[in-house]
């Protein structure tokens, strides 16, 4: 009698604790949908087509991830400042949103290994006379607030001690301001710069050169404590490169030399 009660109690406890330890990876598989935070004014990573549907590298990447998990993908549009609250509130499961893996941010969210790498390019208004990164000294420059390149550029402007730095809230606003001549030049990821110049929607701007900043590695992110999911995501990124899908997507959306995602001389 005593033993059966004990056994029942143990069983119940196992069942309950099993329930309590279902992690996010289990939740996603059980729910059948993967909700990705994607920034949609950041071509070619995220954009809208002529009927205002989401397209882009990040959108495809999310779909691949969903396929690997055996679930359907749901793209949740999040402006840059909205990425983290959306994750924290459980509105999205994973951020596939070109998020630079800074140490400062890793205090708040869990970052995977890099899934994409940006080089920084200088784009200038043709009338400004800016022909290289050095020419930006003393000019009015801008970038998307809070991004890797914005932080670096603001630091440069402070070091030069001349000119003005303006952070805009979206990448689109930066290029709009640049094409209107509100700012003389901007530093952005070269993929974004090329994609925007190529559209021909912004007359009078061109990519004039590279910016001497470190490569901006961006990673997927999810809640800091979800090791199971982060593990899965790391392997997924590895597989994407291994199977050539990364190269395929890169060719489809960006084109040109495939950037390496590995950092020389160190483990992660």
């Amino acid at each position: 009698m005593k033993i059966s009660v004990l056994a029942f109690g143990l069983m119940a406890a196992t069942a309950l604790s099993g329930q309590a330890y279902a992690d996010k990876l289990d939740d996603i598989i059980a729910s059948g949908t993967l909700r990705c935070a994607v920034v949609l004014d950041f071509p070619p990573m995220g954009a809208r087509d002529a009927s205002n549907n989401p397209i882009g590298f990040d959108v495809d990447y999310c779909n691949d991830l969903a396929k690997a998990l055996g679930v359907t993908a749901e793209i949740v549009e999040t402006p840059f400042p909205e990425r983290i609250p959306a994750l924290m509130s459980g509105r999205v499961d994973v951020g596939v949103a070109s998020t630079s893996d800074t140490l400062e941010r890793a205090k708040t969210v869990g970052m995977t290994v890099p899934y994409f790498a940006f080089e920084m390019a200088v784009t200038a208004n043709d009338k400004s006379g800016v022909k290289s990164f050095e020419d930006m000294k003393g000019k009015t420059v801008g970038a998307t607030a809070g991004t890797f390149e914005a932080i670096a550029l603001e630091k440069s402007v402070k070091e030069w001690g001349a000119g003005e730095f303006r952070p805009y809230q979206t990448q689109a606003d930066v290029f709009l301001a640049l094409s209107q001549g509100q700012i003389d030049a901007t530093v952005s990821t070269s993929t974004v710069a090329q994609a925007n110049v190529k559209t021909g929607k912004f007359p009078g701007i061109s990519v004039v050169g590279k910016a001497p900043y470190d490569i901006d590695y961006v990673s997927l992110f999810t809640n800091r404590e979800e090791y199971g999911l982060i593990n899965y995501l790391n392997l997924f990124i590895n597989q994407q490169v291994r199977t050539g899908r990364y190269a395929e997507l890169y060719k489809k959306w960006v084109g040109g030399d495939l950037p390496s995602l590995a950092v020389n001389g160190v483990y992660r």
């Binding site: 609250p85 924290m88 400062e104 941010r105 708040t108 607030a145 952070p167 301001a177 001549g181």
Partner: protein, 221 residues
Amino acid sequence: MFSYTFHWNQAFRALPQMLDGALVTLEIALLSMAIGLALAIALTVFRLSGNRVLSGVATAWVEVARNTPALFQIYMAHFGLGNFGIHLSPFTALLAGIAFNNAGYLAENFRGALKAIPETQARAGRSLGMSSLQAFRYIVLPQMLRVAFLPATNQMVWAILMTSLGVTVGMSSDLAGVTQELNARSFRTFEFFALAAVIYYLIAKAVTLAARLLAARMFRY
């Protein structure tokens, strides 16, 4: 329920930076109020002038300022005018947007205040040999300002709140801009914005108090 750990010390370390931002916020609010007040008086004169073009301009101004979002007005001042090659810096665009908005609302307040001043007073002034402008300047305007003082105080608080919209046009030195910058860097949204909210509250209260003291001084009989 809360698996989130607050990092308050990170926010407090940024306090000096945010207080610098608060000064810029106050500066924009005060400037926009001064410009808005001057414009509003001009608009009121236009409306009373009887000149069709002038009063049409004034009415259009007031209606647009009151019937479109302030965010829209500021966005328009930066990117809309930029389309014509008129480049306002974020600071100027923000200031222009808020001043435009202030002028519209204040002019409407003045319209209400004017109703409270019997027309016979201005007529009495005219019969004493004042020109219509003099009658406005010496008889109507002082009373109008008195009646409109309280609504104008509210508008001042509004102006402070509106400065937070500058982040959409690349403003980074005011309180909202500084806060958003800190937030984008660290993703610690709640801590930084809660601190900003407290600072905004204190500024708003300080301004209201100052206005009350000023009113007690100015409008003593």
